[in-house]
Symmetry: C2
Subunit: 336 residues, 2 copies
């Protein structure tokens, strides 16, 4: 049974026969306290399982040691995340924050508007925020940036953004997909994704730019998706292939999830992947390597991403103004 009356610093002070400030200094490893005293206090504290009350500490320190992490639930169905990539990212961020002893406050789907986040910030629930996914909420993010709360966003880095963005080089990702297709003499390009997402828009742009620059007249078509779920991609694939005059021979999907949905539909219709249609996804989610056929994809290093997001945010908290950053972006060829 734990002690009913929670133990406070006063108790430890009394037990160690020193004053409260001395205990405080000992616990925070201050040089202002004698080494022996420090050890003594520490041992007493340990013996009684004492841990400083974070809330009192935070009240006094005026910081929270907490970072709010907000996920773009709106881009998913029924507020349930359907793309595992975002969780890879979360794991990376979680690890990076843990290494800095920062707490991670996960902002629930119903706390994802400017007001809620602003309240969290001004009530000292978090020192800053990391947004995973710029997606459909650019205007919300712009609005939130005006509040002056420290923030970093996973998304599409670009000039003149009112906040610091970290992301893969989406333009390059699209270009690599195009080059990959061109090398295989594909001509009938289909881009799959929702271009109203700025990250996705850039991927599409990369694909188109590279295709046009090559001089080989490729056909460029789009399938616009309404959210990030398998389901939409699946439905959209069927719909598109039903009415397409000539089926594409090269599909670049904004995510592996979408790529997998398309491949499944293609195979159901008797098309061979990659022989008839070459498909490139994005993110290199774990499933991509084990899907059959294995998916060629653009990998973003989520571990590095988490680290970089956290690093930039810490810089902002130190009153620096870091520039947006790009993480390694590489094509992982698997469908040969």
């Amino acid at each position: 049974m734990p002690p009913k009356q929670p133990i406070t610093m006063d108790d430890i002070a009394a037990l160690a026969k020193v004053s409260k400030p001395t205990v405080s200094r000992a616990l925070s490893d201050s040089p202002l306290v004698n080494e022996q005293t420090k050890q003594h206090v520490l041992s007493v504290a340990r013996k009684h399982g004492y841990a400083v009350n974070r809330n009192a500490q935070r009240l006094r320190h005026k910081n929270t040691n907490t970072i709010g992490v907000s996920i773009d639930f709106r881009s998913h169905r029924k507020n349930h995340i359907s793309d595992p990539f975002i969780f890879e990212l979360l794991a990376g961020v979680s690890e990076a924050l843990g290494n800095l002893n920062q707490d991670l406050l996960l902002c629930a789907p119903n706390h994802n508007d400017t007001d809620s986040l602003q309240t969290i910030y001004s009530s000292r629930g978090a020192d800053g925020f990391i947004f995973l996914g710029q997606g459909h909420r650019e205007s919300m993010l712009n609005e939130f940036a005006l509040t002056g709360a420290p923030m970093v966003v996973w998304g599409a880095p670009r000039e003149n953004s009112p906040y610091c963005v970290v992301g893969s080089d989406n333009l390059l990702g699209g270009q690599m997909a195009a080059e990959y297709f061109l090398k295989q003499r594909r001509r009938n390009f289909l881009f799959v994704g929702d271009p109203s997402h700025c990250e996705i828009q850039r991927r599409r742009q990369g694909l188109h730019q590279a295709a046009e620059k090559s001089g080989k007249s490729a056909i460029l078509e789009d399938v616009v998706l309404s959210d990030f779920s398998y389901e939409s991609a699946f439905d959209a694939a069927n719909k598109h292939l039903d009415q397409a005059k000539s089926p594409p021979d090269a599909i670049f999907a904004y995510s592996d999830t979408a790529a997998m949905a398309f491949i499944r539909v293609l195979v159901d219709r008797g098309l061979r992947v990659p022989e008839d249609v070459s498909v490139v996804g994005y993110n290199d989610i774990p499933a991509a390597a084990f899907f059959s056929p294995r998916i060629t994809t653009v990998r973003q290093d989520t571990y590095q991403a988490g680290k970089l997001l956290v690093k930039k945010l810490m810089q902002i908290l130190d009153n620096k103004k870091p520039r947006s950053g790009t993480i390694k972006t590489e094509l992982v060829v698997r469908d040969t």
Copy 2:
């Protein structure tokens, strides 16, 4: 630019020309304050964007309104979650907590030992904990339960557990898989998973019990996995099929991820799924429905799971002692 000097309750009191306690009462919607006064105070507070300092509030209230959520990172590779199921669960919990206005503190991989969690608890970082995945850490959980911290665990419910467990009916899940196989006249059963995980052990037990009870002499074999990753399942599949005298005609995998890895290996070896080998997975992750062939799997309702986990924990926080609970467990047949 936000105000440099953060605004406090005293400021609002002065601005509204009332005393601090009145402001406090108005903001907490206390009946002890006159309705007009309340509205007036509220409007002043809103006008100045005032939000109560959570840390002061929590210090006074002696509660934190925060639940720590701990994920079993050890069961995954390199501390990176490889099975999306756990995230589905996280999303469910996040939503349920959000509905109750509870903050979700995500415990990082390096804060997952008894000491760290105990420190979080006794430093008033969280009122209670939800553990997602019992897995390999039963002894840790038993140890932690002794500290008396309120906790609920996603795992295998059973009698005499020192803590409250919520989970699917793993035994039933295994039985359903067995029945499904038997109906197809399969005889050569392979169980895939790490039986030192108690959840997984029960699934295996369900499979074996039902197989034996049927009277039809089935062959029962195991492939033991070392972690939750695709990779291990993939490697294990190859290794097993290399040395198996007769390949199994029925595989029950502890997760869809593992099922997908096995299917991939089977197909690579020219075996047909489900004609030659029937495969049943677990969890019904989104990818399962879109994998080719679609995977027959045991679905656990993560939304309900999140809700139930949170509900039980709230009961514990109210000093009740809820019994362990089971969520809906059903076979989703897809490979026909």
